[in-house]
């Protein structure tokens, strides 16, 4: 997934779309907005980021899970099988991005990249609702996909590459 931080206006439509699409319980969120301002006035640099689980290539949350509930699904998305989850929270402690939370029903919840929509050929709810088209979702392994093209054309960063998890949400700068 790519997030164009130059287009994002922090309207939070992605957050609300996700809540509605995935019936995220009150008080919780699977994606969120970060507004970051750096520098000294008047030399300020602001960045808006729509953040979520990075569906890491080396996901420590999956390594930490004792039951196999947390797993890497086909296509690379990191998912939690509710039926197998004990709520031990090892994965929560293992995620450097704090992208997970305990659902009030006991299992651990997080962004699924809306795989249920992808199976229907639709984009994730957050991507499809974004009014500035700053979010893009697709196959990084396919050089012709929109995400691959954006990564070729733009400067980008991932969050905390030093964790070594290989995060897969890219922030275009």
């Amino acid at each position: 997934m790519t997030v164009d931080t130059r287009l994002c206006v922090a309207c939070k439509a992605c957050v609300l779309a996700c809540k509605a699409e995935n019936a995220v319980p009150d008080g919780f969120c699977r994606d969120w907005l970060v507004e970051e301002t750096r520098g000294e006035f008047p030399d300020l640099h602001a960045q808006n980021r729509s953040e979520r689980c990075n569906h890491c290539s080396e996901p420590p949350c999956v390594d930490a899970c004792p039951t196999g509930a947390s797993h890497v699904a086909g296509g690379g998305a990191v998912l939690v099988t509710h039926d197998k989850c004990t709520g031990c929270k090892a994965c929560i402690a293992a995620c450097p991005y704090d992208a997970r939370y305990v659902h009030p029903q006991g299992w651990v919840d997080k962004c699924t990249f809306c795989l249920h929509r992808a199976r229907r050929g639709e984009k994730p709810a957050c991507v499809s609702v974004c009014p500035t088209f700053c979010l893009e979702f697709g196959d990084l392994a396919d050089p012709d996909s929109d995400v691959s093209r954006r990564l070729r054309e733009r400067r980008y960063k991932v969050l905390h590459p030093e964790t070594g998890c290989g995060p897969n949400v890219y922030f275009l700068e």
Binding site: V34, T67, P96
Partner: protein
């Protein structure tokens, strides 16, 4: 870019924000009891392996059963922490070698039979008679006793191995979670094992041991405390030599919010004072003989409590 940094987030997930608090009191309680039980099994088995001909006190003989009781309390705490308790059986439908939590659940399952056989073989003839007098128990116990006696040394060695596994794993459980810089140190496994040994020894000192047992336990306790101090030193040096996230972990314990608790409760009252008392107490019996072991137990618990809290508060989000 230099200058200030202001970060505003819309994420306010309970137990995640603003500071991770996913694990509560249950986890340090469990880590403490797990370590203590490891210490009890290891010391009880070692004493008999090293000195097979010495008589043993009733207290030492009964200790493996006490250990299993304490372990069950610890597991109860662990169970209480689960957000989805009905799914607890899921731990035993999988073995995930990358997950210390998975290793731990299987190690726990191993500790019970090993500890039970260790305890059975430790019983003296009178205790055996009492047990075998119960009609309902006798048919099961008789062959088990025979087996536990026949393979006594193997059982004792297995008890040491299970104890070391249990003690190490309580540390590795946190030590493998690299997402929390405070726990990102290879020292935690050996540190919790050493602390488990010293808390196990301290627990034993509350009971009526004979003279030689007492000397043995105190010697091991002193050794474990010295080792623990060295490992704590290695942990702090490792943080000091690390990147900025490790530096922050160091700051938590040197200047930051956990400094006074760590140095006063763990290092001073939990290790240095009881160490001095045990070294002096060898020459002349000090009054307040129970004070040193009580301090060690409190220090062992404080160590886990503080490292758990500081670990949850240490996160990459501190360095946006």
């Amino acid at each position: 870019m230099t200058g200030n940094l202001e970060v505003v987030t819309t994420r306010h997930n309970a137990a995640i924000d603003p500071v991770l608090s996913a694990w509560g009191w249950e986890i340090p309680v469990y880590l403490f009891l797990g370590g203590l039980v490891a210490g009890l099994l290891i010391l009880g088995a070692l004493y008999e392996l090293l000195h097979p001909d010495r008589p043993r006190s009733r207290a030492l003989r009964a200790m493996p059963f006490a250990a299993l009781g304490l372990l069950s309390l610890g597991m109860l705490a662990l169970f209480l922490d689960l957000a989805h308790k009905l799914h607890v059986y899921r731990f035993y439908l999988a073995f995930r070698w990358t997950s210390p939590m998975s290793w731990g659940s299987w190690i726990l399952l191993l500790v019970y039979p090993v500890g039970f056989l260790h305890g059975l073989g430790s019983l003296d003839p009178a205790q055996r008679e009492t047990l075998l007098a119960r009609r309902a128990l006798a048919p099961f116990l008789r062959p088990l006793l025979r087996w536990a006696d026949g393979a006594r040394r193997a059982v004792l060695k297995a008890s040491v191995v299970a104890g070391v596994g249990l003690g190490l794993y309580t540390g590795l459980l946190l030590g493998t979670l690299a997402a929390r810089p405070q726990w990102n140190t290879a020292v935690l496994g050996p540190l919790f094992l050493a602390s488990g040994l010293s808390t196990g020894a301290a627990f034993l000192l509350f009971f009526r041991l004979d003279e030689r047992e007492h000397g043995f336990v105190v010697r091991w306790d002193v050794g474990a405390i010295v080792l623990e101090l060295l490992l704590l030193g290695a942990m702090l040096l490792g943080f000091a030599a690390g990147d900025r996230s490790a530096q922050h972990a160091l700051y938590h314990l040197l200047g930051g919010p956990w400094t006074s608790a760590f140095w006063s409760l763990v290092v001073f009252a939990g290790l240095l004072v009881p160490l001095a008392m045990e070294l002096l107490g060898r020459r002349r019996r000090l009054p307040l003989a129970a004070l040193a072991p009580a301090l060690i137990l409190a220090g062992g618990f404080a160590l886990r409590w503080i490292l758990l809290a500081a670990g949850q508060a240490s996160s990459f989000r501190e360095f946006p």
